[in-house]
């Protein structure tokens, strides 16, 4: 009921109509690209904070190893399991020290690079391959689609960690191989989601309208179908980010993932597990880093879902007022 009234047009067809139109029109005519995105980001405070946090994480990943490599690997037996929030050993020990007396803050910053490399690599890889195959499976003929789907079934029928264990046992455990294995095991999720959405979207009228205009398959897929399903894929990807980080730590824990002295947040959590009763901070801080990163990604992706959708965008453009 409220729908029919807010979108009502009244009897005259000529006047600009919905309240959204009135609000959004001056903005769409206004500033271009980047400034507009920034303005929409500022409108959503949570998304803004998330974006800032992610920028910090990325800076850590890029710059951290340049400055902190030595500090993060120097053992200091007097600072073994040093408790957090004590400044007498220097600022590096503000989060405490690990079992070998290495400062946790420096190690977390150091570990950001490997963690991000593996998680981002695996998620981006599986999303790219999975959604491409999904688009093909959804849009191409029945045969191609069937073959691709059965392929996905094969991957899914293996427990993903078991598959990783087997592959990494045979290959040398390196970052590259880890990314490869994690990417492969996550492909079916994107593949199935994409295919299901494509099957629905391709029946929509505007896709048929494009066909009637003579649009090529490529144009229909990338211009008309992909933008509709992209928000779903991005949401899955952000959720998957956390899963991949934890899977990586599980593999590292089994000794077939990242090898010491290389570190990742997941590895730090599993190393700290043994000390949970007397030195909780060993596992807590890297765990917090994982949680904050995935949460930020999640908030940012839900912001992006609104910002990418022209019919929803006004919610951000009118200044972040919540709709009931």
């Amino acid at each position: 009921m409220s729908n029919s009234t807010t979108h009502s047009t009244g009897p005259t067809d000529q006047q600009a109509v919905t309240p959204e139109a009135a609000v959004a029109a001056p903005v769409t005519g206004g500033p271009s690209g980047l400034r507009r995105i920034l303005r929409m980001l500022v409108a959503d405070k949570l998304a803004l904070l998330s974006a800032l946090f992610l920028v910090i994480v990325i800076l850590c990943a890029i710059l951290g190893p340049l400055f902190l490599a030595e500090m993060a690997s120097d053992t200091n037996l007097r600072a073994r399991n040093a408790p957090p929030f004590e400044l007498e050993r220097g600022f590096a020990y503000i989060l405490g020290g690990d079992a070998l007396g290495r400062p946790l803050l420096a190690r977390i910053v150091m570990a950001a690079r490997n963690t991000m490399l593996i998680a981002a690599g695996a998620v981006a890889g599986s999303m790219l391959i999975g959604s491409t195959l999904g688009l093909i499976a959804g849009y191409a003929g029945r045969w191609t689609g069937e073959v691709i789907m059965r392929l996905a079934d094969v991957i899914m029928s293996f427990p993903s960690l078991l598959l990783a264990v087997i592959v990494l046992y045979m290959l040398a455990p390196s970052i590259g191989n880890l990314v490869l294995v994690l990417a492969i095991t996550r492909i079916p999720i994107y593949l199935r989601t994409t295919r299901a959405e494509v099957l629905e979207v391709r029946k929509r009228m505007f896709v048929q309208a494009a066909t009637v205009m003579g649009a090529s398959r490529r144009r229909i897929i990338f211009r008309h179908i992909l933008p509709v399903i992209l928000p779903t894929l991005l949401t899955i990807a952000t959720l998957d980010f956390a899963f991949v980080m934890l899977a990586e730590s599980a593999l590292s824990f089994l000794g077939i993932g990242i090898q010491a002295p290389e570190i990742t947040w997941g590895l730090m959590v599993s190393q700290g597990r043994a000390y949970l009763t007397n030195a909780w901070w060993l596992a807590f801080w890297p765990g917090l880093a994982i949680i904050l990163t995935t949460m930020s990604l999640n908030l940012l992706s839900s912001w992006m879902r609104v910002a990418l959708n022209p019919t929803q965008r006004w919610r951000l453009e009118i200044g972040g007022k919540k709709n009931d």
């Binding site: 009921m1 409220s2 029919s4 009234t5 807010t6 979108h7 009502s8 047009t9 009244g10 009897p11 067809d13 000529q14 600009a16 109509v17 919905t18 309240p19 959204e20 139109a21 009135a22 609000v23 959004a24 029109a25 769409t28 005519g29 929509r204 009228m205 505007f206 048929q208 309208a209 494009a210 066909t211 009637v212 205009m213 003579g214 649009a215 090529s216 144009r219 211009r223 008309h224 933008p227 509709v228 990418l308 959708n309 022209p310 019919t311 919610r315 009118i318 007022k321 919540k322 709709n323 009931d324």
Partner: protein
């Protein structure tokens, strides 16, 4: 106190939205007596359904809020009654049927059970409820009622589903039946049947019938009195005859003037040779023959209407000719070349000459693209039409041509009304400078007054640009005003074809005669004649 069965006094309802308060209805008053049919007439957004929702306690609060007024049912104010009390009235004393019966029947239960459930929910025994359900299904004319009780909603046709909804609404012999656009989704012949069923049932039970509609024809056919609404206000009240002949409010007059089917009929000229020759076109889905060998010609600049009810195969013709689906057999020669045997690449080039405007512009425009992108996509696909530097200029020109303004180019489809969206879709079709535009029910989703504007626009384009139209419609009056020639289709076959005058003044095929008799006219006197003609046909 009042002696009306139901009276709405000074009712105001508003909705709180992100953009502020929207006043859906503003101080409206009307009443309904026993045995009377009151029609509430209005276009989308006029607030015609809001008062019915308020009566049935269907308004979500918040965001909705009833700010003033009272709803008196047998003298008692429903708005002051408790929820429990109102639940007891709903279904038992006041019941309602909706536009889309499939959406309101539960797909996982047999229909007999669903009809009986209404009675059981109000404390009747199981056996009694089932007996009553059977009697009702027989009464509303479901064939083989006893066997049909065990069937599921999807096994019935649209008209039968609406009959089932009526049976369910009548299960407890209500005093008031509210029908919200009960026949809008139905074919004309079925619409006439459902309306006469409602009328018979009203005579039998003496209930008050509240008919909410946008269709002047339905008012002329069925209503005793009508209330005309616009923008949340009641602008005029009267009998259909008074309203038709002596409308005082400008809005009512505008509505009446917009009703199609009154203009001069066009005479087809024997023009140049055919641009599209369709021969023996067939399509079957599995064993079902949707199209059983259709042949016709189209000439340059001509408007050919294809009319028929749902399932007659009229849209299938468009989809086959445009290769959205593959034909089972037959040919469709476009300027001598058979469209049905072209490779996708060859077809892609030819497509710029044949364009299509779809029924629902909300769905046929990509919501992620701005109007500029939507229109200029034509030139991205066919780069030889126009150099990129001239795109903004041409988009502005096209928007102007379809009655929009050039600054609309930056907006997105959701920022427009239904009629404006259809104009955008037409501009998109024009961008390719086609020789033929296929309109598949292009105006049937629009309000009457906007429908008239879009038809005017299409007529203007036809005269200025010499474009041929293949106009697929179920609505005969629109076709009468717009087309040169008409094909009448039934069950995948052409039953009659000829000039508009021939079809409308001397229909030969019995199906065409029935279709014309079932159509509703906004003039109550004409409608009375139609009804007589329909009864005569039914008698044969």
């Amino acid at each position: 106190m009042t002696d009306h069965l139901l009276e709405v006094r000074d009712l105001s309802v508003q909705f709180h939205t992100a953009q502020g308060i929207v006043r859906a209805v503003n101080g409206i008053s009307w009443h309904l007596d026993r045995g009377e049919t009151l029609a509430i007439l209005g276009e989308s957004g006029s607030g015609k359904s809001v008062s019915a929702s308020a009566i049935m306690n269907l308004i979500d609060m918040p965001p909705g809020e009833i700010t003033s007024g009272e709803i008196l049912f047998e003298g008692r104010d429903l708005l002051k009654a408790s929820d429990e009390e109102r639940r007891r009235l709903n279904g038992k004393r006041i019941s309602m049927i909706f536009q889309d019966p499939l959406g309101h029947l539960n797909p996982v239960y047999p229909v007999g059970w669903q009809i009986a459930e209404t009675a059981m929910a109000h404390g009747r025994g199981k056996a009694e409820a089932y007996d009553r359900a059977l009697a009702l299904m027989e009464r509303v004319g479901i064939p083989d009622a006893r066997a049909s009780m065990g069937k599921y909603p999807h096994q019935f046709s649209g008209g039968q589903r609406q009959r089932l909804m009526i049976a369910m609404a009548l299960a407890l012999k209500p005093d008031i039946l509210i029908a919200d656009e009960p026949t809008t989704a139905l074919d004309v012949t079925v619409q006439a049947e459902v309306l006469s069923l409602l009328e018979e049932l009203q005579e039998e039970t003496g209930m008050g019938l509240l008919l909410i509609t946008h269709d002047l024809g339905v008012v002329a056919e069925a209503a005793d009195r009508a209330v005309v609404m616009e923008g949340g206000l009641v602008v005029e009240t009267g009998t259909p005859r008074e309203l038709y002949h002596n409308a005082t409010h400008p809005y009512t007059r505008k509505l009446l003037a917009a009703a199609p089917g009154k203009g001069a009929m066009r005479e087809p000229e024997d023009g140049p040779e055919a641009i599209l020759e369709v021969r023996d076109l067939k399509k079957d889905y599995g064993g079902f023959e949707a199209l059983k060998g259709v042949s016709f010609d189209m000439h340059a600049g001509e408007t050919l209407a294809v009319v028929g009810e749902s399932g007659s195969g009229k849209s299938t013709i468009a989809r086959l000719v445009l290769r959205l689906e593959e034909a089972s057999s037959g040919t469709a020669r476009w300027k001598g070349e058979d469209l049905l045997t072209k490779s996708p690449r060859q077809m892609g080039k030819l497509r710029r000459q044949l364009q299509m405007v779809f029924q629902d512009p909300t769905q046929s425009l990509n919501p992620h693209m701005s109007v500029f992108q939507i229109i200029s996509e034509a030139w991205v696909i066919h780069p030889d039409i126009l150099p990129k530097a001239r795109w903004p200029e041409r988009v502005a020109e096209l928007l102007d041509q379809v009655g929009l303004s050039p600054e609309h180019a930056k907006r997105y489809p959701h920022q427009f009304s239904g009629g404006q969206r259809q104009r955008i879709a037409i501009a998109r079709a024009l961008a390719l400078e086609p020789d033929l535009i296929i309109c598949d029910e292009a105006v049937s989703a629009l309000d009457v007054s906007i429908q008239a504007q879009v038809i005017d626009l299409l007529g203007k384009l036809r005269d200025e640009l010499g474009i041929a139209f293949l106009f697929i419609a179920h609505d005969l009056p629109v076709v009468r005003d717009f087309a040169d020639r008409v094909l009448v289709m039934q069950r995948g076959e052409i039953v009659e074809q000829g000039s508009v005058r021939q079809i409308f003044e001397q229909p030969c095929a019995p199906y065409t005669q029935r279709l014309l008799a079932a159509g509703l006219d906004s003039d109550p006197d004409v409608q009375a004649d139609r009804r007589a003609a329909r009864l005569a046909l039914a008698g044969n």
